[in-house]
Amino acid sequence: MDDSTKQVLRQIIRRIPLNKLQNMLSKWEHLSKKQLRSLEFTQPKWLLCDNLLSICEENDLSMKHVTELEIIYRIDHPAQGSWNVCQLIDPEEEAVTADLLHFKQLFKAHLRGLISHVSVKTKKHEDGAIWIRIAWGDNFTQPNHLKPTYVVHHLQTPYVFVSGLTMKHKPLLHQALVLSAHYGGIKDVHLSGRCLTALRDLLMRQYKQVFPVKHPRLLLERSPLPSNPNIQMEHAKHAENRLQMAAEAFGEGILPKLETAVYKLETRFRENGNGMLGRREEPFRGVVKFASSNLLESLKYCVSSGMASAPVTPLLSSITQKGRNYFVITDKGPGASHTPGPNI
């Protein structure tokens, strides 16, 4: 084991919490049962790390093996760092029938053709997704394993999830992806967040959706003794209406966990009545950012509790409908380049 391998292993061990380390190492399958038993997980981490290093040296493990541990950990704990989503467009005929082995070989070959020093490692996840770990170098330097890029792709879907990618390597990755998945191009979806599964669920609509119905459902909770039946009924109707609207816009049950949504406003300033900036034609520029530990849940709560007026504005419902969380809003309306107009 050379020094850089040791350094990478140390970094990986540092990132894995002590209580998860044992589980991860047994999943890794590069230590014998006896070796694993010899490690004491009650020791301080640096001491444990030293012992682990000497075992790895004994087993003659290389960078290839060490990075495998990182992939295993990332697959188990994907909610680290920020994930961006890209969409492959214009599929060719082969795109539908692409198989994993073929894709893997092609991807590695294409990427190596584009850049000389690059280290690619792939792993298939139980849910069918392929996880790719890329360590980038350039013509003169060896791949940097300390700052890898992670790519997650579900074959037969157009979506690619990317984390830790620099602007410099973006065109290289995009080209390799397009060529090996047999698509015509790739574009940014403008959706980002920490929770990978949430992004996937949002785009693939794997959450409980609610559709407009003709016969409204009965409210589950109804007070047993209404003081004034008419008022109660009126209130209940409003509340039910709000709940329905909120659910239609954002879904029901456990919602995908998004952290932020950003809107760049380039619309005209209109104010009812007192004519502030009345004759101004230029747009009133600004950026609005919504942030929460679970954004869709918060927005849904706002609508159902009446803190936002129903029906939900298309700007907010576009997060789920269009599966993105970055928007540029102009006055030109829906006709203009893939941006929803304010419609108000």
Partner: protein, 356 residues
């Protein structure tokens, strides 16, 4: 100010107050408690200081001519946690050196409680009290006092210089004249306290002040009205100093809580503010109606897009490149030009907390 006779002299009012209902034989603090129990109302309700509904237009002022730029450099750019302080009893600006020694000894004693100390060992703290001259706006304002604590870490190498680990200041800028003049002799009013550094040191410094000058420290929050004033004040500066952005942040009590932030283009924000000012006929003063009209305008622009009632939540933070202010009493002033205007507004907030 040129008319000031002696900048270092602590303003003391020699005329005794003619308020028969109050006795100043007790400390200010116990007086407050006593009044509360006797009259059955809180001291705050007796205050003569009222929230103003209009202010003079703040003008960017180059204070570097009056105030030592080194002192300004110590105050700008840091984030300060604000508190209010009741008037200090027998505080003198001429005694600062002795206060430095006393506070250093107090800190060392508190830190070493329960620890065996070698006799004659050098104290771990070096404290410097400095009077920041020139920040005061009127003759009744006491001069600002800056406190710096340098300490050596336990692992510092031999001969390594002590680092600045904590700083704080006590200030009074354009305080309410009537209130300051009604102050009995021997009291100095420096109602605004800012601290930056370890929380534990802040607590110790406060307790030293409370013991030495018989005063009381309380947390100073900046309510949404004052945040709105600051937003308008900073926006109004745009033609003189580029504010780069105007950012307003709200927290909506959804589950989980929703944070909404709105960053407005500086020129557009200024044009909106200017149009409101034009509308009400460019007077020398700014009315609270104009300020709330400005914020309402921005809020309704947001509502038009997102249909979320921001009034359901609270305005928590305003910031521009000139500075930022948070609802929980944290403030950062990055431009010395606007320093006095901001400090004057905060002094006013602090004075509203004073017992009378």
């Amino acid at each position: 100010m040129e008319t000031r006779l002696s900048a270092t002299a602590t303003p003391r009012n020699q005329t005794a107050p003619h308020r028969s209902s109050k006795s100043y034989g007790f400390s200010r603090r116990s007086l407050g408690v006593e009044l509360t129990s006797r009259l059955g109302c809180t001291p705050g309700q007796l205050t003569a200081v009222r929230i103003p509904t209009n202010r003079g237009i703040p003008k960017p002022r180059n204070i570097t001519e009056q105030v030592d730029p080194e002192h300004i450099a110590l105050i700008v750019k840091k984030e300060w946690k604000l508190s209010y302080v009741t008037p200090l009893y027998q505080f003198g600006h001429t005694q600062l050196q002795s206060y430095s020694r006393q506070l250093a000894a107090f800190l060392a004693a508190e830190k070493q409680q329960g620890v065996a100390v070698e006799v004659g060992q050098e104290l771990g703290f070096k404290v410097v009290f400095t009077a920041v001259l020139g920040l005061a706006e009127t003759d009744d304002d006491a001069e600002t006092v800056l406190i710096q604590i340098h300490s050596k870490s336990a692992f510092a190498a031999e001969g390594e210089a002590a680092k600045l680990t904590w700083s704080g200041w006590l200030s009074c800028v354009s305080g309410d004249v009537e209130y300051l003049r009604s102050m009995p002799p021997d009291f100095t009013c420096l109602p605004l306290f800012g601290a930056s550094g370890a929380e534990s040191l802040t607590t110790l410094v406060k307790s030293w002040f409370e013991r030495t000058f018989d005063c009381y420290f309380g947390p100073l929050a900046i309510n949404s009205t004052n945040l709105e004033w600051l937003a308008a004040l900073w926006t109004g500066c745009h033609p003189d100093t580029n504010i780069r952005y105007l950012k307003l942040a709200w927290t909506i009590p959804a589950q989980p809580p929703l944070d909404v932030s709105y960053t407005v283009h500086p020129q557009d924000a200024w044009e909106l503010w200017n149009s409101i000012r034009q509308e009400s006929g460019l007077r020398d003063t700014v009315d609270i109606e104009e300020v709330s009209c400005f914020i309402k305008g921005l809020e309704s622009h947001l509502f038009r897009h997102f249909r979320i009632y921001l009034s359901a939540g609270t305005l928590t933070k305003v910031s521009t490149t000139l500075g930022s202010a948070h609802q929980d009493g944290k403030i950062r002033i990055t431009s010395s030009d606007m320093m006095t205007s901001v400090l004057a507004l905060l002094t006013e907030c602090a004075l509203l907390k004073m017992p009378v």
